[in-house]
């Protein structure tokens, strides 16, 4: 493989030694740039009680460019689309090489606590979130129960 940057080794070691509460990120055995991630739905959010699986991939020029992250578990959220793509500024133009895998995952966890329907990726979800928040939250809870709780 192309030589693995020490940065990735260092971050991996730290993720293993001091895991982030509510988040597990384990590198694939055969690919040090690919992480299997599980994020616990934050308390007091419609995602509470759910375990959400994500994939995180460090591109060749990481940390100069952002990790690629995607939800694999279905989730009802205005900033996450049907294919699990996430709308998060630090994964796009607000990326900085000083950010890390752990900071990215914390931001994603924060996005679950605070959905932002004014800047949507999943338009139908965002629409409902704006016009009828309680129904949207009900849907989010239902999806969490259906797709994120059966492990």
């Amino acid at each position: 493989m192309a030589a693995l940057p020490r940065r990735i080794i260092k971050e991996t070691q730290r993720l293993m030694q001091e895991p982030v509460p509510g988040i597990s990120a384990v590198p694939s055995e055969n690919n040090a740039r690919y992480f299997h991630v599980i994020v616990t739905g934050p308390e007091d959010s419609p995602f509470e009680g759910g375990l959400f699986k994500l994939e995180l991939f460090l591109p060749e020029d990481y940390p100069m460019s952002a990790p690629k992250v995607r939800f694999i578990t279905k989730i009802y959220h205005p900033n996450i689309d049907r294919l699990g793509r996430i709308c998060l500024d630090i994964l796009k133009d607000k990326w900085s090489p000083a950010l890390q895998i752990r900071t990215v995952l914390l931001s994603i966890q924060a996005l679950l606590s605070a959905p932002n329907p004014d800047d949507p990726l999943a338009n139908d979800v965002a629409e409902l979130w704006k016009v009828n928040e309680s129904e949207a939250i009900r849907n989010a809870k239902e999806w969490t129960r259906r797709y994120a709780m059966d492990n």
Partner: protein
């Protein structure tokens, strides 16, 4: 830290409400009411369409084909997903080189199924060892089931993968691992097991079950490693790789330690390869089983003169084989490989295209390649020409690459899922050596140290890396170099000159960088 930003970048999923009107069908459902109502014949038809489209699709950025989008909508509902899987099992033909790839594409792009739907499918097909050992099994059906199980296992890594590897499914797959079975089923059953083994718990289960046999099935299958039958050869390759990397047996010597490398002076570089490419222990054969575009370069660098190598095609699917420089990036996840940038050039004998700068040029004078064919790759730095040939039939010379690059070329190749080929860098006699000019071979001129000749299994290499430590005064961005720079005017420090040169603003405070000072030590 992160706020939401991107209303403009990603296409709206909601815009794809497909029109399911089909000429002779009667279905006019819209997305909302679509559930168990889709006519199975229509799903079959869409899957077959998808197969043709996948074969002709060359641009990874282009919009998803209509049939693919329609299938996505159908598969969005649990019942629809099961229907789509059933269709794939029934209609994807054995002989189509895109079959397994098309299955991967479809399953990869569709929303993931719940473990219940997967288990439903396994019940639907009554997977069991009885089914696998029945006299009148349909090779196509079983092959497709194995491909699908593998893809699902790959996507559902973790507790779900453990849940779907039920006793019956496990027995079904294991029962195929014999010399008496059709090799294409054996191959995909083995690949499915490898993919289930991405989850550690499954790996241990499978490993134990394999070892419970009187003779380890993979030790038997591994012997096909050099078979003249190219399907069995793939089985042998995968079995051998699995024994070295996944289902290791205590006391078995790893293949790379046994390999006689004394005559080999050029091989595929196991430190210059994308993550999921699998290599033989002698470094001259490579295979990809992952749904990504995996690439590798040779160890030998060409700077002048005329050079030639050959690749024996083991599988007839998409591979891009040719020449690259160190400037070519392996963007395996995005589908970019050799021939997809300004610094590499390749031939794809499946779709019959020459690739340069991610632009394909169709080739009509040669037939599509098939297993056993020999691709010849010649580079002539005096005449500034690259000449590809298939079984000795030459293509016109390609010259564009010399506009960007004059030296520093490496033999290189990219592989789609389930593809494999064997490289001859001059260790063996060439089958179709060029006759119109003098050329050299890497093996006659290469020099490698003993360490460079070791194709160490990746897990061992990664293990070694993870144990290595990092110096305290190293750059806070790459940790590879010593921190030596101060950013002005913000004054943040702790970065090396290599990283600093790639920065526009400060990674810590985002202030513009006006100048860079050396850090006093």
């Amino acid at each position: 830290m992160g706020a939401c930003c991107c209303s403009e970048e990603v296409p709206e999923e909601a815009a794809y409400v497909p029109d399911l009107q089909v000429r002779n069908g009667s279905i006019t459902e819209t997305q909302t009411r679509l559930s168990k109502l889709v006519d199975p014949r229509i799903v079959d038809q869409l899957v077959l369409e998808m197969l043709t489209v996948a074969a002709s699709r060359v641009d990874t950025d282009e919009e998803s084909p209509v049939s693919l989008v329609k299938l996505h909508v159908i598969a969005d509902k649990e019942e629809g997903w099961i229907q789509m899987v059933t269709s794939m099992v029934n209609v994807i033909p054995l002989e189509d080189p895109f079959g397994p790839t098309a299955i991967s594409i479809l399953l990869d792009d569709c929303p993931l199924p719940s473990k219940e739907s997967v288990i439903k499918v396994t019940h639907l097909f009554e997977l069991s060892s009885e089914r696998a050992t029945s006299e009148d099994l349909n090779v196509r059906t079983e092959r497709n089931i194995c491909v699908i199980l593998g893809c699902i296992a790959e996507k559902l890594v973790g507790p779900n993968s453990v849940a779907i590897l039920t006793e019956d499914t496990l027995q079904y797959l294991l029962a195929f691992l014999t010399n008496e079975q059709e090799p294409c089923i054996v191959l995909f059953a083995l690949i499915a097991l490898e993919k289930f083994a991405h989850t550690t718990e499954n790996k241990l289960t499978i490993k134990n079950r394999l070892e419970r046999n009187e003779e380890h099935p993979l030790l038997k299958l591994e012997k096909h490693n050099h078979s003249e039958n190219f399907v069995w050869r793939q089985v042998g390759f995968c079995a051998n790789w699995a024994l070295d990397n996944l289902f290791t047996i205590e006391g078995r010597t790893l293949s790379y330690m046994l390999e006689d490398m004394s005559q080999i002076n050029a091989l595929l570089n196991c430190h210059d390869v994308s993550e999921y490419l699998q290599m033989s222990a002698n470094g001259l054969e490579a295979r990809c089983d992952s749904y990504s575009f995996e690439s590798v370069r040779c160890t030998f660098q060409v700077d002048n003169g005329c050079w030639y190598y050959e690749a024996t095609i083991v599988t007839s699917g998409v591979m891009q084989i040719g020449w690259a420089t160190k400037n070519s990036h392996f963007l395996n996840d995005e589908g970019y490989g050799i021939g997809d940038d300004l610094y590499s050039l390749s031939y794809d004998g499946c779709r019959r295209l020459v690739w340069y700068n991610a632009k394909p040029v169709p080739i009509s004078q040669l037939p599509a390649w098939k297993p056993g064919d020999i691709l010849g790759c010649l580079i002539d730095l005096n005449r500034k020409e690259v000449v590809f040939s298939l079984n000795g039939l030459k293509l016109y010379p390609c010259k564009e690459i010399f506009e960007t690059t004059r030296y520093g070329f490496f033999a290189a190749a990219s592989f789609m899922a389930y593809q494999q080929c064997i490289f001859n860098f001059g260790l063996e006699k060439f089958k179709y050596p060029p006759t119109d000019r003098k050329f050299s071979s890497f093996n006659d001129h290469g020099q490698l140290t003993e360490d460079q000749k070791k194709v160490i299994p990746r897990r061992i290499y990664l293990e070694q890396l993870r144990c290595s430590s990092v110096r305290e005064d190293s750059c806070q961005l790459c940790y590879d170099e010593i921190a030596s720079c101060v950013l002005e005017p913000c004054g943040h420090r702790g970065f090396c000159s290599v990283c600093t040169s790639q920065l526009k603003d400060c990674p810590l405070c985002r202030a513009d960088i006006i100048s860079i000072k050396r850090q006093d030590t």
